[in-house]
Symmetry: C2
Subunit: 251 residues, 2 copies
Amino acid sequence: MKDSTTYALTIAYDGTEYSGWQIQPNARTIQEEIQNVLSQILQEEITVIGSGRTDQGVHALKQVAHFRTKKTPDTKMLFRALNGMLPFDIRILNVSIADQSFHSQYSALSKEYHYYLCLEPIVLPFVRRFRTHVKMPLDLDLLKKGAQQFIGTKDFYSFSNSPDKGSCGKNSIRTIYRLDVVPTSDGIRFEFEGNGFLYKMVRNIVGMLLDVACKKRPIEDIEKVFLAKDRRRASRAAPPTGLFLAKITYS
Amino acid sequence: MKDSTTYALTIAYDGTEYSGWQIQPNARTIQEEIQNVLSQILQEEITVIGSGRTDQGVHALKQVAHFRTKKTPDTKMLFRALNGMLPFDIRILNVSIADQSFHSQYSALSKEYHYYLCLEPIVLPFVRRFRTHVKMPLDLDLLKKGAQQFIGTKDFYSFSNSPDKGSCGKNSIRTIYRLDVVPTSDGIRFEFEGNGFLYKMVRNIVGMLLDVACKKRPIEDIEKVFLAKDRRRASRAAPPTGLFLAKITYS
């Protein structure tokens, strides 16, 4: 696609009211909202491609997306017009001109996801859309020990709901560089950093860690589930409410 | 009202979806939600009295309310049942048995309000219900100097929309002990502490300070408005979105 300019967008959203990032029939999606507004502004049919999908109810601190156009709109104008026309639960944090070959998904080197648990008896109303409420007591030492076992290059087949839907087809080997458990004012935040994540992988790992930390399952089960390569052996996925796509790193 | 027990509630709420605290016909209010749920739990008509009203769209970190009943429900049961039945944007943080004579409004010694301004180009979606977005540049030195002029015992007549609706009838003299301007991650927070606040007083003061800090009005106007005792001389009230009833202090 010569003679076109590639624009990169950094996007924050509260995913509560959306059926996820990716366009689907009869559903309100973030991709479609942005695409519609951009097409209106540029008077041209625009396709917006995100670094990856986020599921229904999942949020983003810094999703990255790109689009190409034969026009050369000013980035400041786009920033203002997009934020002026989009709903307040989707905000464009940055608009820039990227290398023509830039691709928000294929150019990504690593991704970061955050998952917030509220461990207090009450979730404050101000953060209720952004927390998973855990009412059972958790053994935080077990939680941290369990988290260690997910770090490294592994076959995450058992921790993905449907790898075909993932970005890398049938290869379910991924590398998690970092999985930190960070204390917060009302609980903890998991910080996942990896070279890529399979469909529902973060939520499946959090679900497994919760089962271990509340002693519903022994910590040895993590290794067993990895080896079984059977999704039915893993724990139930944790809910989407606490999950944020936090950061995409490019070269 | 002998033979009755007085219960005190500490309540947090996101006021976005409500027409304020106080019961009104044909409107959804926080007082009514709590009163209805309590009446259902206790199978008795309960009147819940708050430390003061909050307007449509105003939030509370720690509103205090009380009610009296001839029954003696367990506080832990009430805590669980209330939070189980109330919508998630209203949370009961604490239930306790108070002195029989305790009155959430008349027993209050002082109150604290917080008002959040976002001064960034974009309000993050996660806090959009809790910020007033100020897009014009503000002179923070002027803002702080202006804030100083509201501290002390003064006649706030010009800074109240309708003192008849306030808690102390026609007396518009109040004492502000503290009005701090605290930096936050996306702007500033005003912290007001005083012995009482007239109807719309906090929002009117913030509105006046904004006019001064963006140089729409000279700082000398603050003193002039105080002396004029004329509400029409004051600036427009700042919107409710950024306002929180933060704390009530009792002896």
